[in-house]
């Protein structure tokens, strides 16, 4: 059994969170509120030390009228956003929002086209139909499966006749994919629990290898 007081605190907090499984209780609520506060403080300090001070304040103080003068622009945008909280200047925040959205959405167009569409087409077309029987079958499944599943996302006409058949096949392909995701999600969650029990049994109680 551990003698480190910190380990004991950590173990008690762990048990406090586990108590939620029985039902919501005061112990859990204390842990929950504690972590919300602590991590907000943590976030603030990290953000200040790693971004706000070295990337904004310091360049502005050292070089604010020279090559880093452009950093006044984000200060202005944040100021515009803050205008939202004053009734008279409320509408000014739309300008800040427009700015915010434009950069993000603007850059998302070409990058989505590149990584999400073109590269995927290249991958599908270049899937070769030679090699071992498993590979041939697999690549056929890949090409046809992608096509059928894409047809499921075809909205212009009703899904009737051939299209209905193809889009049903498409949903089946999607379901196989979701099944794979599902089992991996379960696996992932189990690992998190294993980690906690490893802490309780090994680091705290010292009863398991």
């Amino acid at each position: 059994m551990s003698t480190d007081p910190y380990i004991w605190i950590a173990a008690i907090l762990t048990l406090g969170v586990f108590s939620f499984l029985y039902k919501d209780n005061a112990f859990f609520a204390v842990c929950e509120h504690l972590v919300v506060g602590l991590s907000a403080g943590y976030m603030f300090v990290t953000y200040w030390n790693n971004v706000f001070f070295p990337e904004l304040i310091l360049p502005l103080v050292q070089n604010g009228t020279g090559s880093d003068a452009h950093l006044w622009v984000p200060v202005g945008i944040c100021f515009l956003w803050a205008c939202k909280y004053v009734e008279k200047t409320k509408d000014m925040y739309r300008l800040a929002l427009a700015f915010w959205l434009s950069i993000d959405l603007g850059l998302s167009i070409p990058t989505h086209m590149d990584a999400g569409v073109l590269a995927q087409i290249a991958g599908t077309i270049s899937a070769p139909l030679n090699g071992s029987p498993v590979e041939i079958l697999g690549n056929l499944v890949l090409i046809l499966g992608t096509s059928f599943a894409l047809l499921y996302f075809f909205f212009s006409t009703e899904h009737q006749g051939v299209l209905k058949g193809a889009s049903t096949a498409g949903t089946w392909v999607l379901m196989v994919g979701f099944g794979a995701s599902f089992s991996y999600v379960i696996l992932s969650r189990i690992y998190l629990l294993i980690g906690r029990l490893l802490f309780l049994f090994r680091d705290w109680l010292g009863i398991a290898g």
Partner: protein
């Protein structure tokens, strides 16, 4: 048959706390049983290591982006530790950064550990650039310049005073980018940086997101993938075989608990379905 149906109806209404207890027991028992499993490395894991070996032969440093917090540490920690041993044992230099505030403290911790094991020198053998916000845009921008987004490293030293960063101006100057992430950041790396700028990219993710990356593996946008705790266990096996790790780590230790828990859940799914079909028969 009637008896079965009543039992089925009861099972459907089973209190979920019973399920909870079963899962807890299933995960707990294997810790006290001396049965040891190993995970056989799958194709993706071997691909990952091969790509990494290629990068280790180059002169350029490796860029490692670590994005996981305490929430998913159980799954990601063994993976990162195996990777760090792999990199530092070969004497390669590495640059670290993160886009997640919660990751900063753990990274400092792991790097301090590595420093004492392999006798590394900060600034020459490795650098931690610290946390950066605006992940997607920083990833995109790093393709042209490091110094525009990181004026100073995590310890407040300006980048030009770090020997390791002297020859690193953009992502062109690193041999490979590795992202160990518990969230969708590998996807953002691929979309905003790998595809536009074109460089080798490896990812280690939680099992949750792993299946999502298979399209990128097929196109080569992603050169290798470690899939969650399972991938970490496979990688540990691989590194033990290659003599890099002395023994398997926490990921392999969890395989027994993982097996029993998966069996339990499969059992619950089976019971649920049998009960459902029996009940449906009764409703008719």
């Amino acid at each position: 048959m009637n008896y079965l149906r009543t039992a089925a109806a009861k099972l459907v209404g089973l209190d979920r706390r019973v399920v909870f207890i079963a899962v807890f027991v299933a995960v707990a028992i294997p810790f006290f049983l001396p049965v040891h499993f190993t995970a056989v490395p799958e194709e993706e894991t071997i691909q990952f290591d091969n790509a990494l070996v290629q990068a280790l032969q180059s002169e350029k440093p490796i860029l490692v982006d670590v994005d996981f917090g305490p929430q998913t540490m159980a799954e990601m920690e063994p993976m990162l530790l195996a990777l760090l041993h792999r990199i530092f044992q070969s004497g390669h230099k590495a640059i670290f950064l993160t886009f997640m505030t919660e990751a900063t403290s753990p990274i400092r911790n792991y790097l301090a550990e590595m420093e004492s094991i392999y006798d590394l020198e900060y600034g020459r053998d490795y650098v931690f650039l610290g946390y950066a916000s605006a992940y997607a845009y920083t990833m995109y921008g790093l393709g042209n310049s490091f110094s525009a987004y990181f004026h100073r490293d995590d310890r407040g030293t300006p980048l030009d005073r770090l020997p390791l960063m002297k020859n690193v101006n953009s992502l062109r100057d690193v041999s490979v980018v590795i992202n160990i992430a518990s969230n969708a950041f590998p996807r953002f790396w691929i979309q905003y940086s790998v595809t536009p700028h074109g460089f080798d990219f490896l990812a280690g993710t939680t099992a949750v997101g792993a299946t999502e990356y298979y399209p990128y593996l097929q196109t080569g946008q992603l050169k290798g993938l470690l899939a969650g705790g399972r991938g970490a266990a496979e990688y540990e096996t691989l590194l033990v075989e290659k003599g890099i790790l002395k023994g398997p780590g926490d990921a392999t230790a969890g395989l027994g608990a993982q097996s029993l828990a998966l069996f339990t859940i499969l059992g619950f799914i089976l019971i649920g379905n049998v009960a459902y079909f029996l009940n449906r028969g009764k409703a008719r």
